[in-house]
Amino acid sequence: MPGESLVRHSARRTALRGVAAIGAAALVITTGAACSNSRTTARGGDPAAANQVGDLPPVLSHTVAVTVSSARGCQADHTTYAAGELLVSITNQDALGVSAVQLRNGAQLVGERADVPAGFTGSFAVTAPPGTYTLFCPGAAGAHVPIRIVGASMPAGSTLQALLDRAGAGYGKYVGTQAGNLVTAATALHTALAHGSTAAAKSAYARARSAYGRIATITEPFDDEINAHAGEESAADWNGFHRIEKGLFEQKVTTGLAGQATWLVEHARKLKSLAAKVPLGPDDLTHAAMDLLTGLFRSALLGEEEPYSHYDLLDVAANVAGAQQSFVSLQPALQRIDPMLTARLAGSFSSLVTLLHKYRCSWMPSGYDPFDQLTDAQVTGLSQAVQAVVEPLSMAASLVVS
């Protein structure tokens, strides 16, 4: 994974800068001690100079050095730090149960570094407005360490909350666009079927599936009939995508399918109007992405999502695209909270998309190789690449709970 490798290297450079920063902080502290000495000396001398030194605000560090150990738990080097860009530098000496350190402001997580097992060091940077914070080392004795951050406040709009709000709004727009694409493709499918054009119908079916797959987990609560498979509804009540898929790809007829397409268009329109009204919080985004990806293991990655057309890889690609959009919407906020995890997620998504790209196939209406032509090893590789996204995504989900 060259992409991931690059990102990891840059993260390592950040960690190195962190070490340099600790050195700088130590210098600052020494200077501070020297200042208080010189103040004592100055007191007997020039009163104006003493006054000047006394008025200086205390020198506060921009680096929070956190040490985690089994004997002393979670400890910070100071109780008060300077507002603004803050580096949290972590040394896990030997605390077996600890692998992450978080910075919280009340219930809100403002920064995290995971993957710091016993014997390792790591760091994360945050932009922290003044306030009362808690360092949280899950698994450590004395896991909660209160710290204060003082200094100038930050302009509104750059807060983490603003970034999280923007994520929800951005993703909402995406859902609306895809729902619109779904209606357009379903309408084209109807037209093709009404004219008995098999090739046009297959192409429109693929476009409709591509749009639907991107937003399936957002729209599913409103309408699960649209994606029903044979046997999930009684034969008389079976409508939707896969009823049409069976007719078009297995029975190879278009007769009578136009009526089915009418049903599909109606349901697509209904979904579009409902989807526009759903309020989307950041946790809805991560849950939608998780469901899109984990759902693949139960269906499309088994070749069971498109049993007649074998367009399953199209569904895989659509679900992945929808999940990735959710991540991209959250990325500015996630980047602030946990840049390492964000880099890992970005790398995993990139590897997955690159892998999927190898199965592009121009002559297939779906744009991808038919699923029944994949070898077992190829399916395993795809499953593992999806799993490599799911794991960091499940961690990201816990970082953005509103």
Partner: protein, 423 residues
């Protein structure tokens, strides 16, 4: 580390049952403390049989080698998917911390209730189960030393690629691997839990390449009072390396000053072979022939030159039709005397993977695990001899092969598997 510092698995169960649990030692966890407060001391340690006990995780050598064999194994080999050596180190660090906790009978990571929105760090299926003498032994395959991580110069000369043998029928998908993990316990749930959580921790860094479960220890460190039988019905492992035989262990198992790689000092080399037995054909063979193939009596385990299991194997003793122990008998070819005095520490398990889809026969045999200080002097020449002329070859096929350099033990919390290799 002297006592458990994580939430005790049994402590959690106690809490869940309203305080009928054990006292969770140490720890700074709400739930563990609550249990300790609500459980009267006299109810502590309701069952602490040896089989449920803790095998110390830290020490000069990794546990799971000279440790008396537990009842079960779940073995897994992993392939790294990352190309970043830092990610590999972090994985080994996370595995080390998780292994220290699991082998102590603790949950991995933090108190699962501490973060309501986060997935628990431990998958939980071993909750309430004792440590069950769990050992987790980690080794490095030859492929770890290829170009990906710049470790080529650190590859020990003894970590050779195992050559092909005439009777091999190897499935590459079932052998090899960048990392090998042997989890042994007296409870299969506990052993599986270890491998499952290792796999989970590895997600995004490494993937499971193959896995093998085994039951009913076949030999392990020899117990003078009881030697188990293999699936052919024969007592197996009589002359394996004996317990506490430090002379044997230092001579044949632990890597010493002779190594070209200091990071392997105190380690060992593991060879894994999945040996399929054609037990249907074996079951149809007459007992005299079976005993001739092995070189021992089936009932007592006595060599064909003696009356009792532990009688000396007299390879020179002659009978009316040639040697009493036939020239192609398994014990003759595997005997140290035939192999320049070399011994290996066998620590295998039986396996069955259900029905062979092709023949309908039982897919079963021996999951052979052997530790030694130098495969070039031990496993390879011994197996070369066996695969050339062992009468047993008619009934067995080697279907997978793996070799792993098992680094020494971890010094304490904060140390991790292979730290010396990577630093």
């Amino acid at each position: 580390m002297t006592g458990p510092s994580g939430p005790s698995r049994r402590g959690f169960l106690g809490a869940a049952l309203g305080g009928i649990g054990v006292v969770a030692a140490g720890g700074g966890y709400g739930i563990a403390r609550a249990t300790a407060e609500s459980a009267p001391p006299q109810q502590a340690v309701a069952t602490a049989p040896k089989a449920g006990g803790v095998v110390p995780f830290y020490g000069e050598h990794q546990a799971g080698i000279a440790t008396p064999s537990q009842d079960r194994v779940v073995f897994a080999a992993f392939d790294l998917t990352t190309h970043d050596v830092e990610a590999v180190k972090t994985l080994l660090g996370a595995w080390s911390a998780a292994a220290a906790q699991m082998t102590a009978g603790q949950l991995i990571g933090a108190d699962p209730e501490a973060q309501a929105e986060a997935p628990p760090t431990d998958t939980g299926e071993a909750l309430g189960l004792p440590a069950s003498q769990l050992t987790i032994t980690v080794g490095f395959g030859p492929s770890l030393f290829d170009k990906r991580f710049g470790l080529g110069a650190r590859r020990p000369a003894a970590l050779v690629d195992i050559p092909a043998f005439p009777t091999d029928a190897l499935d590459p998908a079932r052998g090899g691997g960048d990392l090998g993990v042997q989890a042994c316990a007296n409870d299969p749930m506990v052993a599986f839990h270890a491998i499952r959580n290792f796999t989970r921790i590895a997600r995004g860094t490494a993937v499971l390449r193959w896995s093998q479960q085994g039951f009913g220890k076949t030999s392990g460190i020899a117990d003078p009072n009881f030697t188990g039988r293999n699936l052919m019905g024969f007592i197996d492992g009589t002359n394996n390396i004996a317990p506490k035989a430090d002379i044997d262990l230092n001579a044949f198992v632990w890597v010493g000053d002779e190594t070209d790689q200091a990071w392997m000092h105190g380690g060992s080399y593991l060879v894994s072979r999945r040996i399929r037995m054609h037990i249907e054909a074996w079951d149809a063979d007459g007992i005299a022939d079976q005993e001739g193939v092995i070189g021992r009596r089936k009932d007592s385990g006595a060599p064909l030159t003696g009356a009792h299991e532990h009688d000396t194997v007299d390879l020179a003793a002659a009978g009316p039709n040639g040697p009493l122990i036939p020239v192609d008998a398994h014990i003759r070819l595997a005997a140290p005397a035939t192999n320049g005095g070399q011994k290996i520490l066998r620590r295998g398990y039986h396996f069955t993977d259900g029905a062979d889809p092709l023949t309908g026969q039982i897919d079963a045999g021996l999951f052979f695990l052997a530790y030694q200080k130098d495969v070039r002097k031990q496993f390879i020449p011994i197996q070369k001899r066996l695969s050339g002329s062992d009468a047993l070859n008619e009934y067995i096929r080697h279907t997978s092969s793996g070799i792993f350099a098992v680094p020494p033990g971890l010094r304490g919390p904060g140390d991790w598997y292979g730290q010396a290799l990577f630093s």
